[in-house]
């Protein structure tokens, strides 16, 4: 097996807030292979967005900070540890947009309202290559066409407010892909759009992934989305990875009680049984319980759960951080 495109190891990101330090991401490890879609799933506040932003070095300056771990990206000539780069330095900027593209949750606000769509895409293109404005604009039209925007030549001169939410997200994708990144991070790309549009966007991402042979890190709180698009899945809870597995297994054989809970709260067509929401609520970010973060809500919690469980590897595809799987052996 070749080296993964992205390998995150022991990532720990802290936010310094007036109320104290928030450990947003704690000892997170995962990898993304070339050409695969990794789904990152979890409730809001679980640290999945912070993980993505850590990868992009887009943490709020002076507040968010990677305190430990490595993020090795192998998209350029040689592998580079993003965590060790200066967030504002040229190498990092070359990776942003160039090596890794990112799209966000809110298509309505992700585009700058005072520049035309074209101007914004051109800006991204010219940032990573030495195309003339004219060439860049032609490329932008082409990209818009690729993401399924009709009449791209005229659309390119319009301002974002003339675009619908779905179109904006497409434009965002066009922009994120403009410099030909190896990895696309999609942070809840469909949360703010209609269900009908959601499917189209996911479809589009999938299509582009296949065409370009790139990888996708798909962040979502919606297991259905995972089911549709992801190859493998990372489940996060309160800043930690609780389970890493394949998309299929999430549904078929969830290992962690939290994953099971998530699944249980998922309405599915044709299922007659009652929804079983996870009891309790996600504690506030400053109220991290000691030991297993899920223990207070876990129906199967044991005495040992007061201690943070290590990650147990069940097999080649699945590892889980739960004492229930202690017997599965080695980490």
């Amino acid at each position: 097996m070749s080296a993964p495109l992205l390998e995150v190891t022991g990532l720990t990101t802290h936010y310094r807030l007036p109320q104290g330090t928030l450990r947003a991401v704690e000892d997170v490890s995962f990898r993304i292979e070339a050409g695969e879609t990794l789904g990152v799933v979890g409730e809001s506040g679980c640290g999945k967005s912070v993980t993505a932003r850590s990868v992009m070095q887009l943490l709020p300056p002076r507040i968010g900070r990677i305190v430990a771990g490595s993020i090795v990206f192998d998209g350029a000539e040689e592998p580079v540890d993003i965590a060790s780069l200066d967030p504002n330095g040229a190498p990092m900027r070359a990776i942003r947009g160039g090596g890794i593209g990112m799209i966000f949750q809110e298509p309505m606000t992700s585009l700058n309202p005072v520049y035309t769509i074209g101007e914004q895409i051109v800006e991204a293109i010219r940032c990573h290559g030495d195309l003339s404005k004219k060439e860049a604009l032609a490329r932008a039209v082409e990209l818009l066409g690729q993401v399924g925007i009709t009449e791209p030549a005229s659309r390119v001169r319009q301002y974002p407010h003339a675009f619908s939410g779905g179109m904006r997200q497409r434009a965002m994708i066009a922009m994120a892909l403009s410099a030909g990144p190896k990895l696309l991070i999609a942070d809840e790309p469909t949360t703010a759009v209609d269900v009908t549009v959601e499917a189209q966007i996911l479809e589009l991402i999938d299509e582009l992934k296949r065409e370009r042979g790139m990888s996708v890190m798909l962040i979502t709180h919606d297991l259905n989305v995972i089911g549709e698009s992801a190859d493998r899945v990372v489940v996060m809870y309160l800043g930690r990875v609780v389970e890493t597995t394949t998309a299929r297994r999430v549904f078929d054989a969830p290992a962690h009680p939290y994953t099971r809970g998530l699944l249980g709260s998922l309405p599915a067509i044709g299922r007659r049984e009652r929804l079983r929401p996870i009891q309790g609520s996600v504690p506030g970010p400053h109220e991290r319980p000691p030991g297993c973060p899920f223990a207070p809500r876990c129906s199967e919690a044991m005495e040992i759960c007061r201690r943070q469980p290590p990650t147990f590897r069940i097999d080649a595809e699945t590892s889980v951080a739960c004492w229930l799987h202690e017997e599965a052996g080695g980490q």
Binding site: R16, P18, Q19, G20, T21, D27, V67, H286, E287, P290
Partner: protein, 404 residues
Amino acid sequence: MSDRRTSVPGVPEPAPGSALPAVSGAARGSTLEPTVEASVSEADAYRLLTVRQLMWRKFLSNRLAVLSAFVLIALYSMTAFAGFVAPYDPQDGVSRLSYAPPTPLRFRTEEGDFTLRPFVYGLKSERSTKTFMLEFVEDTSVRHPVYFLEHGEPYRLLGIFPATLRLFGTRDPDARVSLMGNDQRGRDLFSRIVYGGQVSLSVGLVGVAIMVLLGSVIGTLSGYFGGWFDSLVQRAIETLRVFPEIPLWMALSAAIPPTWSPEWVYAGIVVLLALLGWTGLAREVRGLTLSLKRRDFVLAAEASGASTARIVRRHLIPTMTSHIIVTATLAVPVTIIGESALSFLGIGVRPPMMSWGLLLSDAFKVQVIALYPWMLFPALFILVTVLAFNFFGDGLRDMADPFS
């Protein structure tokens, strides 16, 4: 625990470098547990506070606002007890002390001995034959100790009770303590400032009181009724606001008949400032009313057949009180500036009434500033008052919105 201090709510933007819990890359894992616990308990405390306590805490945490509140209390009590604080009658000039400089309070005698009780030297004045100006020489032969809570010239406390007790003074009426020097007529500038504050500071309060009355009533009615009344009010406000305020103040103030007595002129100025100043408040109140009007409790009151007046009085106005207080507080300095500017230009209050603006107009001549710079002291008082109100108002604003 040292971080407890930093977790006091109401400091949303701690100064850089303040003692936030330091987290180093190495110190991970269980070693950090105490920090987390501290945050947890603090957050609980935060949640248990009542809104009132929360507001109070928030205000107290704004140190400039607290300081300003003290400054304002000091200034207002100074003017309320003007007779007690001021050592001399503000109108009583000693012509030989024309433009005499501030009297230095001394603690060290000629012989070099230190005395705890400050003393002053008397001033001898003589007219220079060269410049024709009065020149002052301290008469160091006699020391005049400054006594506190000393009986001096009679005055009326709060304008009613005859009194003679003064905060400080010398026992020899010829040796005057002029902390801030003397004006052209040899009147003690400090005393004049203390009395002048009565006009300057009260204009703010009285004017704003009228403004609040006008603004909240008109604003509430306008927002509550809407329709033609609202359009009319909005149009009036728009027109008033398109006039630059100082020129409009000036134009109206200049129309106050010159034959009015100083007291009436004062009243005229106050009313004028209030009549032109209510618009901002009215707008704000109208906006609030519009948003409150559709809230449940008002709808409920309406449904239960409460009269309009009752709804406005019992439901709308109390709900808006905090906003009104903040806006009103911030309107006080504007009014004070208005009066000062008008008096400074000679179209505000008239002598023998005193206000800080009027006192300052005496100083606004090149030769006065060059030769008698202490005449600028009133400017300091205006500045401090306005600043204090602004900081205080800022604090109140934060306080009115304790959850931000």
